[in-house]
């Protein structure tokens, strides 16, 4: 598998365990982006000349690939710059229009700052109430709390599909059913940033209203992301930025906007990135979900088993219960142990191992469980091997020895 990722030709010893931050890119994705610039570099939907038409076709095709990938309709896919932009788009357009003083917004205690701060700011500006679904001591969402938290004032629930710290997979379908049973008008936004590269997503089956994800965590390029919007609710989302490509007709005194999704995408989009994202999805489909999920589950089991052999290592996340992904955050519990930064620095310098250290954009969650100096996070991708994990464990044992 590593042969498919050119970065390993340039860094043969690299042990990359930070796929939750960004996925590495397969050659097909890199080539596809380069091909746009070298073979048909033209703007889309404007030129009648040949290369512009090729660019337009490739761009449109990519939107279709993405729609099929998550079982959406093609006009339900809005291109954004990433998950953060997708969530902000909802908070700033739908939120501006629909949230009023006294309304309630519900999120969870395990959100990435990207799915927390936009709602916190919106609630503050609108004098709305922001409520949190608690995380239990076994690092799962407290679903029993839903009956108390959701009420007729609840306008939206925004929650993550997979926690970028805990690795917990939330039972989204069940949660949405529960929410809609209490208040059918409550909309649900799911942050899929950590999910899309690891198991199949079916937005129709989940019953979700908004689904946000990034291209770069899906082994695609940076700068491109997706907001899925259930087409039934488009009318409640007024576009908030305007310009070329998003309009049908412009007069001196008024403008007729284009249909969704185009009215949300003014300006020249990241064309090469959008096209290459389609190729990233094709890459995943070529490998196949059964192979990906099996491989990553095997590695998660192995990683869990190995990490638990290291004494005083405390995992911030659920046990290996089959309802979690290979995103494992941990810290040493004894005082004067190596801090996350020390671990990350030593692993990199001595062993060329890439892990993430700190709060992983989830500060309140770390404080909730007393991990006040952050954690070291290991996250797996399609290219990782048992050998990578052996090297990590060897590196961690070395760090422990240095500090003993």
């Amino acid at each position: 598998m590593k042969n498919n990722f050119p970065i390993f030709q340039n860094n043969p010893d690299l042990v990359y365990l930070d796929s939750a931050a960004t996925g590495l890119k397969p050659a097909s994705v890199i080539l596809s982006e380069m091909e746009y610039y070298t073979k048909y570099s033209a703007n889309i939907h404007r030129g009648l000349y040949q290369i512009s038409q090729i660019a337009s076709d490739q761009y449109d095709q990519s939107r279709q690939i993405i729609a099929d990938f998550i079982h959406a309709k093609v006009n339900e896919i809005i291109f954004t710059s990433g998950t953060t932009a997708s969530i902000n788009l909802v908070a700033q357009t739908w939120g501006q229009q629909n949230i009023k003083s006294g309304d309630e917004i519900v999120i969870t205690q395990m959100e990435h700052h990207s799915n927390l701060v936009p709602w916190q700011q919106l609630a503050k500006n609108k004098k709305a109430k922001l409520k949190y679904i608690p995380v239990t001591s076994d690092f799962l969402l407290d679903l029993k709390s839903l009956s108390k938290l959701i009420n007729p004032k609840t306008k939206i629930v925004a929650l993550t599909h997979v926690s970028n710290v805990l690795g917990t997979i939330n039972p989204i379908k069940k949660i949405i059913q529960t929410i809609k049973k209490i208040n059918p008008k409550t909309l649900v936004l799911v942050d899929g940033a950590q999910a899309v590269a690891h198991f199949p997503i079916d937005v129709a089956d989940l019953g979700v209203d908004f689904y946000a994800f990034s291209g770069h965590k899906l082994y695609g390029p940076t700068g491109i992301g997706v907001l899925y919007v259930n087409q039934k609710i488009y009318s409640s989302i007024p576009p908030s930025s305007f310009g070329g490509g998003a309009i049908k007709e412009v007069f001196w005194d008024k403008t007729i906007l284009d249909n969704p999704p185009f009215c949300y995408e003014p300006g020249t989009p990241p064309i090469a990135q959008a096209i290459a994202l389609g190729q990233a999805i094709k890459f995943i489909q070529k490998v196949g979900w059964s192979k990906i999920t099996q491989h990553e589950q095997d590695l998660t089991n192995y990683l869990f088993q190995k990490l638990t052999t290291i004494s005083d290592l405390k995992i911030l996340g659920p046990n290996n219960n089959g309802q979690r992904l290979g995103v494992i955050s941990f810290a040493f519990s004894k005082p004067k142990s190596p801090a996350p930064h020390d671990i990350g620095d030593l692993l990199s310098q001595k062993f060329n191992i890439a892990v993430r250290t700190g709060f992983h954009c989830a500060m309140p969650l770390h404080h909730l469980f007393g991990f006040d100096t952050g954690t070291t996070r290991v996250s797996l991708g399609i290219y990782n091997t048992h050998q990578d994990i052996d090297k990590l464990i060897n590196g961690l044992n070395y760090v422990v020895k240095i500090f003993s």
């Binding site: 004067k336 801090a339 020390d342 030593l346 250290t357 006040d372 100096t373 952050g374 240095i402």
Partner: protein, 123 residues
Amino acid sequence: MDDLYKEIILERYKNPKNLGTIKGGIQVEEINALCGDKIKIWLEVKNGTITDAKFEGSGCAISVAATDILMDMIKGKKIVDVQQMSGAEIENEMGIELSSVRKRCAYIGLEAIKKIKNSLNNL
């Protein structure tokens, strides 16, 4: 032994010499949100000169060791002079060269002291 984590750094991390608080001292704190380092510093200043310096905090080995070493470096110095110090002087004293990310850990104590308002310099 690793260069970055040589004996002096690890020793200062495990057993800092200047741990504690100073009653009635000037108190400042600084956090490094990136990694969760949190340092509180107490300075006793007489006639503009730092007569004692102590700190408390949690963080990585580099931030704790660097702050402990900094406390030694600044005692007896004018606070105005300390506020002009560069981070490189701490690195020099530690005898290590840090990456740009780790510099933020090592400079945390100095950043805290730089926040002390000038009006206090005449204490």
